[in-house]
């Protein structure tokens, strides 16, 4: 464990979770006793605490985890896990992977939700999970109190990643947007994707670092479809061997697409709107 701590100390100039920062991130809350755990987990030892689940956090560029526990006379402990990722997109991404569609959603941080004995939310580059074995209304209220205090202490801009601004708001399925930071749809050449499910289809944008890279990805996809003439310079309907019917168009360094299409006209209209919004940026 010493070596991990040494590595942690090495990263002092680069990370916010120094001792004094941890105090700030886990504020004192009237009525609760706070215990900040000494150990901070990094990609090197995240498996020690969350086992196989660590893989997903690492895939979203997890950087460190700090933990505190709050208790009062009725609650043995509420554990607050503060995961810091490389950026807000990744924190949002890992949050969306764990988000329950049936949860009661909250306006804490960027978005959050509460279940019995658990409250999760994301805020800036942080994904915050509160969990307890205690039960009851008092516990649920305590989860909210602590989550709000931590969210306020983080001082983060918790707007959804700006890439989602390109997607029209109307008819979006609420609380369903998600971010994939590699191998979108299972294809290595489709990397970073922002996805928004709608009533009639699911729209996505895939970002590349350059137009050339986007063209290269499109070529690979055309090869997979065994149609090298496909350039996707205009809205193109294809039948993907695995995904099914897909609508796809390359706009500079961004691919705009639709899958799970129940209404092709609507999908085309959404695609056009997304392109217009992207062009305005």
């Amino acid at each position: 464990m010493k070596k991990f701590f040494a590595l942690l100390l090495l990263s002092i100039p680069l990370t916010p979770a120094q001792a004094q920062d941890k105090e700030a991130y886990f504020p004192e809350i009237p009525g609760f006793q706070r215990t900040i755990l000494e150990e901070v987990y990094t990609p090197n030892n995240l498996f020690d605490i969350i086992d196989g689940a660590a893989e997903m956090f690492l895939s979203y560029d997890f950087e460190e985890l700090a933990i505190a526990e709050y208790s009062d006379s009725l609650i043995q402990y509420i554990r607050v896990e503060l995961y810091r990722h490389r950026n807000a997109e990744n924190a949002f991404g890992v949050y969306t992977q764990e988000r329950s569609p049936e949860a009661q959603f909250l306006s804490i941080g960027g978005e959050g939700y509460i279940e019995e004995g658990a409250l999760n939310f994301w805020s800036g580059p942080f994904y915050i999970k509160l969990v307890t074995n205690d039960k009851g209304q008092h516990v649920q209220q305590a989860l909210l109190t602590i989550a709000n205090a931590v969210a306020a202490a983080l001082h983060q801009d918790s707007r959804m990643p700006a890439q989602f601004d390109a997607f029209p708001q109307a008819e979006r399925l609420p609380h369903s947007e998600y971010y994939v930071n590699r191998d979108f749809l299972g294809y290595k050449f489709f990397d970073i994707a922002f996805v928004v499910p709608y009533q009639q289809c699911t729209m996505f944008t895939v970002y590349f670092s350059s137009e050339a890279e986007a063209q290269e990805a499109v070529k690979k996809y055309a090869k997979l479809l065994k149609d090298s003439l496909l350039t996707f310079d205009k809205p193109t309907k294809v039948k993907d061997p695995v995904i099914g019917v897909m609508l796809l168009q390359r706009c500079g360094s961004i691919l705009v697409g639709a899958i799970d299409i129940r209404d092709m006209q609507k999908a085309k209209m959404l695609m056009s709107q997304i392109q217009n919004n992207l062009a305005k940026k």
């Binding site: 070596k3 100390l9 893989e55 569609p101 749809l185 061997p241």
Partner: protein, 406 residues
């Protein structure tokens, strides 16, 4: 107020949950279309299979650890390509992982696949290896019922106590009673434990008592003592314990920056050289990985070239300096500490040997200072190691108190 913060279930009531699931899973439509990757299964060739200890289950040597997957089409493609054993956990993606598996596999015959899930004790300090009083049999079995509902099945084939590292955890009375009751009730056919740490110790403990059927263990080419590991797995296998390997990619990358991926096929084959290991639960997120993994199902021979590719990260191009000293010539100050600094970096991030690295930093203190204060680095590495960045990184060790170094 609680109510003012919540948008409650109201919004969710506005649309059909089934529609939501279909949309968010996004590729559900794929389930009804032919899947080209299934064609990679050569019908003339049979996959290599092994028997999982006393369970008698015969499983292809490559299985699917679904923990990273968020793509149901990939899961279905894996099934169609001949993978029959799928591994998840109650806690993965807060239950979404089990739900996705349930959505996909409920559409194929239940007996055509082997399903395993893992459940944690309700109160568990993994770092200390202790299980707290809230970890009752009832709480565990309640979690199992939730998992079965998500998985859309009446039973799992293997149920593990998730993430243990000590004998005490393996034989915790409440947890053992819960596993045995789950088996007795038919909610699982076999029971086991999963372990990331103290793998040899856990295997020995389980072998000794013979209560568990299966151990899911972290086994990979970076194990510090493969000879000892294989002695332990052989003894467990002889006692009828089925052994399944996970974390076979050892983190997946050779370098700290995660730019140099491990040779997937070679890593799997290295594990399968041990006949006591029945199968590897390989994680994957792309069809390309699936095809690579599937190919191992038909050929597990580790070639010399593949073995060489598994040289531990400390020796790999990403981490190791060859000591050619050409960087000294290209450095405007001809700093002789550069190769040593690369070694210190390797000690730090490769071995975690920070004390040894600190010695190097202390010995070359003056030259490290010169390097740190130089704005434009002229030193060039023939292996393209980022010299300036690594020198500056490792030089920070001088600020770390000795008592924190290892």
């Amino acid at each position: 107020m609680v109510t003012s913060q919540m948008s409650k279930g109201k919004i969710m009531e506005e649309f059909d949950r089934r529609k939501f699931l279909k949309a968010t899973l996004s590729t559900a439509a794929a389930l009804s279309v032919p899947i080209s990757f299934a064609q990679s299964k050569d019908k003339k060739k049979k996959p290599i299979t092994r028997v999982l200890g006393k369970t008698g289950l015969r499983i292809p040597v490559i299985s699917y650890g679904v923990m990273l997957a968020n793509n149901p089409a990939l899961l279905r493609a894996a099934y169609d390509a001949g993978i029959t054993h799928f591994d998840t956990a109650h806690s993965y993606q807060n239950g979404r992982n089990e739900e996705m598996i349930g959505e996909v596999l409920s559409k194929v015959p239940r007996k055509s696949y082997i399903l395993a899930t893992k459940i944690k004790p309700a109160e568990h300090d993994r770092t200390k290896g202790t299980i707290g009083p809230a970890s009752t049999k009832e709480a565990f079995l309640n979690r199992l019922d939730i998992s079965l509902k998500r998985l859309k099945t009446d039973y799992v084939d293997i149920l593990y106590l998730h993430g243990i590292s000590t004998q005490e955890e393996a034989y915790h009375p409440e947890m053992l009673a819960a596993l045995e009751e789950a088996k007795k009730s038919g909610k699982t056919h076999f029971i086991g434990v999963s372990t990331h740490r103290n793998v040899e110790g856990v295997l020995e403990a389980v072998t000794e008592e013979g209560i568990h059927d299966v151990v899911l263990a972290s086994i990979n080419f970076q194990n510090q003592n493969p000879k000892r590991l294989r002695e332990v797995t052989a003894a467990a296998s002889k006692a009828g314990i089925g052994i399944i390997a996970m974390k076979t990619m050892a983190g997946g990358y050779y370098d700290k920056e995660r730019t140099k991926p491990v040779n997937y096929k070679a890593a799997l084959k290295w594990v399968l050289e041990d006949p006591a290991v029945t199968t590897c639960i390989a994680g994957l997120t792309a069809f390309e990985h699936l095809q690579e993994n599937i190919s191992v199902n038909y050929d597990i021979t580790l070639t010399d070239e593949e073995r060489a590719s598994l040289i531990p990260d400390t020796q790999s191009k990403g981490m190791a300096c060859d000591g050619c000293e050409q960087c000294i010539q290209s450095c405007r100050y001809h700093l002789s500490i550069l190769p040593d600094a690369m070694r210190a970096y390797m000690y730090t991030y490769g071995y975690g040997a920070t004390l040894k690295a600190r010695e190097i930093v202390d010995e070359g203190k003056e030259e490290f200072q010169v390097c740190k204060s130089c704005d434009i680095c002229s030193a060039h590495c023939v292996k393209n190691l980022p010299i300036s960045e690594r020198v500056k990184d490792v030089a920070r060790l001088e600020n770390v108190p000795i008592e924190f170094l290892a």
